[in-house]
């Protein structure tokens, strides 16, 4: 039943009216007001020609606002079932206290149907949308919410300033699409199911906002629009990023949990980061972030954001510093002549990554740079055809990272040399200083940084110290009695890792003997101790058995007897030592020290040398300086002798008394814990007792 209702309804207290409006003149539209203070029960169609003031919250059936003319029609803000607008009179939606909701259908008739929606209010469509009209023409405000619970069907060629998708079931574009977005489409929750045939149009300079729970299936149509990411969970980019090179204007990354690109992205207007952008989902799935603007740089809001991966700047200006992957990483050509043929800079920056090759890069800051200077179409230009100022930067503090947690990129020993770390480039088989790094380096709360001038080559770059390079890698096998729990016949030479399991192994070697012999002790910090570690151990290199001023390094002893670097957990690289022949001594906090009988050649040429301290051979003082712990395949397994808790090189009653004083304690990193299980008991006493009278022969 259709009822035309240009009438005034007096106040009706608790009135129940099945049909309140009777047919009046159909042809003549009489401006009047539908003023209902009661309740209208509508199961048919209520056509309103005049203004509407309706007090009730909800009305059923279909309600049509149809006024025609050059004047306006006041629309009541309440919840409708079906809501339809038509007619040329501007529909005024001016109630700031209530939105307008359409539970089933929201429709507008044609482009002559214009809705004026005040800024504080909004329209909420919970199911079907058929929009051919215009909301707030010429304005960029006016929110239209798709906030139902079922998947919503939206169509029409009308325009809306702001659409917000807040529906976990999403919305589907049908009937050829064509809906035009003036200011933004905000994908808060749910997926917008559009296709190239059923698509939406993003008007010029409009935005797509994407929360971490929203998405869009197909790239929308539009000459140039902007994209903003926000939310709290890590996001992966999708179809909102245009595949073309000109459509994406601004890129705002406001999700501090990070955004990972799933395609190349071309930013044409500007870029702002309040969270990291990762251009590589995996090492083999790499994309690039192209940054086109010439006169503006990316903006890093707090200063610690980065583009983790590859960034390409495609418009270069001589004399201008081009900020690259983070606030402190930049490229600059002093003038056009020094720019040479370069028209693009492609820079791949991988934070917390050992520069390649890792066996050499291990001595460097854990940040890898790959630079390629290109012409206008991306073809690499010859080296030395340009001169570049390379602003390099790396993290110096344990800045929390979404990807890695708190980490420090500077290897321990380099932390004493932060001022002196220079840009280096990998050439043939090693990294060497490249360009002229301006030293000392500078620091801000997030980065240590400097500039290397006169860089004239593309390639792999790192940050390091020329004098800090690996001379030799110690490959050894060393067993500690006590940590080796089995004795006797056919044993498996695996030591216990109870200290790590109990979480009591210090992450930095404690300031006790022998670790305090290492001048770099305080720089050695392990972020997370691997579960295969037994204990810290000191390696000393002596030119003669009595030379006690030798080179000292501290490493971590693994359960199978390897000594590894505390940073890389690879076999211990020996650095800062003059190549030569050395006795190698091994010092532990409560075991008798041992030393190689012969001198080991500590030099790169002796790369494959394996120093086996578990077979009793090549031990200073002979095999008796160690202890037979068992047989491995019929061969004796030797270990360092446990129980020297007073660290004087002899195991006496004093050692046992010291153990007895703390025999009840546990859960601490104790000298008296001779079996390295974190528990003091008569076991520890017995280990020392059974070695009574033994003395280290290492001077």
């Amino acid at each position: 039943m259709s009822v035309r209702c240009p009438i005034h309804l007096p106040f009706i207290s608790a009135a129940l009216i099945a049909v309140v409006c009777m047919t009046t003149a159909v042809s003549a539209q009489i401006p009047s007001t539908l003023n209902s203070q009661g309740v209208i029960h509508n199961s048919g169609t209520l056509e309103i020609v005049g203004d509407a003031i309706i007090r009730q919250d909800t009305i059923g059936g279909r309600v049509e606002y149809t006024r025609i003319g050059n004047d306006s029609q006041l629309v009541a803000h309440l919840t409708y079932w079906d809501l339809h607008f038509s007619g040329t009179a501007r529909k005024k939606l001016i109630d700031v206290t209530e939105p307008i909701r359409a539970r089933n259908l929201f429709s507008t008739a044609d482009t002559l149907t214009i809705l004026d929606l005040v800024a504080p209010s909004w329209i909420s469509a919970e199911f079907t949308v058929r929009h051919e009209g215009i909301v707030n023409p010429g304005q960029r405000f006016g929110r239209f919410l798709l906030d139902g619970v079922r998947q919503q069907d939206i169509s029409g060629r009308g325009s809306l300033p702001i659409i917000e998708l807040i529906n976990d079931s999403g919305a589907i574009v049908t009937r050829g699409g064509g809906l035009r977005v003036v200011e933004r489409f905000d994908l808060q929750r749910g997926r917008l199911d559009n296709t190239t045939l059923d698509n939406i149009s993003m008007l010029d300079q409009s935005w797509i906002w994407r929360d971490d729970s929203g998405s869009i299936a197909t790239t929308p149509v539009g000459p140039r629009y902007h994209v903003r990411y926000y939310g709290e969970s890590p996001q992966i980019s999708g179809a909102e990023i245009p595949r073309g090179t000109t459509e994406l204007g601004k890129l705002h990354q406001d999700n501090d949990s990070g955004l990972t690109l799933s395609s190349d992205a071309w930013v044409n207007d500007s870029m702002r980061l309040e969270g990291d952008i990762y251009t590589e989902a995996t090492d083999s799935l790499r994309y690039k972030l192209f940054y086109v603007p010439a006169g503006t740089d990316p903006v890093f809001i707090t200063g610690d954001e980065e583009v983790n991966g590859t960034m390409v700047r495609t418009t270069l200006q001589p004399g201008r510093t081009h900020v690259m992957n983070n606030r402190r990483t930049s490229m600059r050509f002093a003038n056009a002549q020094l720019q040479g043929p370069v028209r693009r800079i492609e820079l791949r920056v991988k934070p917390r990554t050992v520069p390649l090759p890792t066996n050499i890069g291990i001595d460097k800051v854990q940040r890898f740079f790959q630079v390629e200077l290109q012409d206008a179409i991306g073809v690499p230009v010859p080296d030395s055809s340009y001169t570049l100022d390379f602003g390099y930067a790396w993290r110096v503090d344990k800045v929390d990272s979404v990807t890695y947690g708190p980490f420090e990129e500077t290897p321990g020993p380099l932390r004493n040399k932060l001022d002196s770390l220079a840009l280096e480039r990998f050439v043939i088989d090693k990294y060497a200083a490249d360009g002229l790094s301006i030293l000392p380096t500078n620091a801000d709360p997030f980065f240590r940084y400097s500039i290397a001038t006169n860089v004239r080559n593309s390639g792999d770059f790192a940050i390091g110290l020329a004098s800090y390079s690996t001379v030799w890698v110690l490959r050894t096998k060393l067993i500690l009695e006590g940590a080796m729990r089995q004795y006797g016949g056919d044993v498996t030479p695996i030591m216990s890792t109870d200290l790590v399991a109990s979480n009591i192994l210090p992450l930095t070697p404690p300031p006790i003997y022998p670790y305090n012999l290492d001048p770099n002790r305080t720089t050695l910090t392990v972020a997370a101790m691997p579960d295969s570690i037994v204990d810290w151990i000191v390696v000393e290199f002596r030119t003669s058995p009595t030379d006690q001023a030798g080179h000292i390094q501290t490493g971590l002893l693994t359960k199978n007897g390897m000594i590894v670097d505390p940073t890389s957990f690879l076999p211990l690289p020996i650095r800062g030592i003059r190549p030569g022949e050395y006795h190698v001594a091994f010092l532990h906090r409560n075991h008798l020290a041992v030393m190689t009988d012969g001198r080991e050649l500590v030099a790169p040429s002796n790369a494959n040398r394996f120093v086996d301290m578990s077979n009793g051979a090549n031990v200073f003082g002979g095999a008796s300086a160690m202890k037979v712990l068992g047989l491995v395949g019929g061969t004796r397994l030797f270990g360092m002798v446990a129980g020297d808790v007073d660290q004087n090189g002899s195991i006496t009653r004093t050692d046992q008394n010291l153990i007895w004083t703390d025999v009840d304690t546990h859960g601490i990193y104790a000298l008296y814990d001779t079996d390295l299980d974190g528990i003091l008991s008569t076991r520890d006493w017995n280990l020392s007792w059974n070695n009574r009278g033994r003395t280290s022969v290492v001077p």
């Binding site: 016949g489 037979v628 008394n657 008991s681 006493w685």
Partner: protein
């Protein structure tokens, strides 16, 4: 093996195979942790026993034993507080020869028992020389390494279950003493694994048992009440397994037929708070009798209900055990009966006194003339004689010579001593036939 599994009042065995030692791993030894029942709520006791299980050793070196207290009801770990829980070795309980700790050299054993990190640690240091080591002469026999007592110093409850710690097996240690050099192979393959006097960790099985309480809960074996006259009720009861019981309370209610619900009230003299005779023996297991509990009542010809309750020491929990009923009689003569009728020269009347009464026994002829007084067992005339509550009293009558054959009225007149409900007196009149 995972942590121990607990069963209330069930022997629990935890097997921890520890310390593979020279050449091969094997079970050399069993260590038992036995809980000893201690009825005192603030005490707990346990013992550590060792059994040699192999022929590989007989001289014991030393050991570390980490134990923990567990709540009996919840079977949960209770962390002990060394400022509150006191752990001591029970002197003389060990088979070991004990002496002080000597940093220079140890010739004896030394026991160190402490509470560390909420758990019990018993560490026994052994002598240096195998010659001074204690020898487990017989295998499969449990020897007592020591008995230990735990108590609280504030009187609070002590957890009763002491178990092998559920922490890492590395917390336990148990070693024997080498009495010879352990050598394998010869020549270049000769290996000395251990030397004489070395201490070698043993493969050990650890078991523990919970000591069961010999009884479950307080049992009241009997509860009696009897009227003893003079408006006094005497109560007594017998109880056993009074562990943890503070005392008893007896409440009283007057039984009114019109009010089926009994309204019990406390009696000042029938609570352990006021009456030491009602204080329980909180550490006693066997039966104990509580007697001589007197209660004054008010009303005669009424029934009183008494209910017996016990109160728990720690919780104040009250348990009602039994209710009895005692009827309070009037102070009258009752059940009077003549024993010989007709009679010739003498006769007797047997009667009961339902309470303390004053009795006069007279004999009248049918004309109402007083013939004589009845006499008591001593031959004294019964004239205002006081009889306490009792039964089977005898009043004698010897026929006077002048009495002729015929009917006589034998009258017992009882006057109550303290029964205000009997206004005057009670009488018994028995007609007796004298035959001459």
């Amino acid at each position: 093996m995972d942590g121990p599994v607990w069963f209330h009042k069930t022997i629990v065995v935890v097997v921890l195979l520890l310390s593979a030692s020279v050449v091969r791993a094997q079970d050399d030894c069993t260590i038992e942790i036995n809980n000893i029942f201690d009825p005192r709520p603030d005490f707990a006791q346990f013992e550590i026993k060792i059994t040699r299980e192999s022929e590989r050793w007989d001289k014991w070196a030393n050991g570390s034993f980490r134990l923990e207290a567990r709540d009996s009801d919840q079977d949960t770990l209770v962390l002990l507080d060394p400022t509150k829980h006191i752990l001591t070795y029970v002197a003389g309980s060990s088979v070991l020869t004990l002496g002080p700790y000597n940093p220079a050299a140890m010739n004896d054993y030394y026991i160190q028992a402490q509470i560390v990190d909420g758990r019990i640690t018993v560490v026994i240091h052994g002598p240096d020389s195998v010659g001074n080591a204690w020898r487990a002469l017989t295998s499969n026999q449990a020897y007592l390494l020591g008995q230990f007592q735990l108590r609280t110093n504030d009187g609070s409850d002590m957890p009763k279950q002491i178990a092998v710690s559920a922490l890492s097996p590395r917390f336990q240690a148990n070693a024997f003493k080498m009495d010879h050099d352990s050598v394998t192979g010869t020549g270049t393959e000769r290996n000395v694994w251990y030397a004489t006097h070395d201490n070698v960790e043993m493969g050990t099985t650890y078991t523990y048992t919970y000591a069961e309480s010999p009884c479950d809960s307080l049992q009241v074996l009997s509860f009696n009440g009897v009227y003893v006259g003079d408006l006094t009720v005497a109560l007594d009861f017998t109880a056993e397994c009074e562990l943890g019981t503070a005392g008893y309370i007896i409440e009283r209610a007057l039984v009114r037929r019109s009010e089926p619900d009994l309204v019990f009230e406390g009696r000042p003299n029938l609570t352990y708070v006021n009456n030491p005779a009602l204080v329980a023996c909180a550490t006693c297991i066997g039966a104990r009798s509580y007697v001589g509990l007197l209660d004054d009542v008010q009303y005669r010809r009424m029934e009183y209900a008494y209910r017996l309750m016990s109160v728990k020491q720690r919780t104040g929990e009250i348990t009602i055990h039994d209710t009895i009923f005692v009827r309070i009689p009037n102070a009258i003569i009752s059940n009077a009966v003549i024993l010989e009728n007709p009679f010739s020269d003498k006769t007797q009347i047997r009667f009961n006194a339902d309470d303390r009464i004053s009795i006069t026994g007279m004999v009248y002829d049918l004309g109402g003339r007083l013939i004589g007084y009845m006499t008591d067992e001593n031959g004294a005339p019964i004239i205002d004689k006081e009889y306490p509550l009792g039964a089977g009293y005898l009043a004698n009558f010897s026929t006077p010579a002048m009495a002729s054959q015929g009917l006589y009225n034998m009258v017992l007149v009882a006057k109550p001593i303290n029964d205000k409900t009997v206004e005057d007196m009670s009488r018994v009149i028995i007609k007796a036939q004298l035959i001459k």
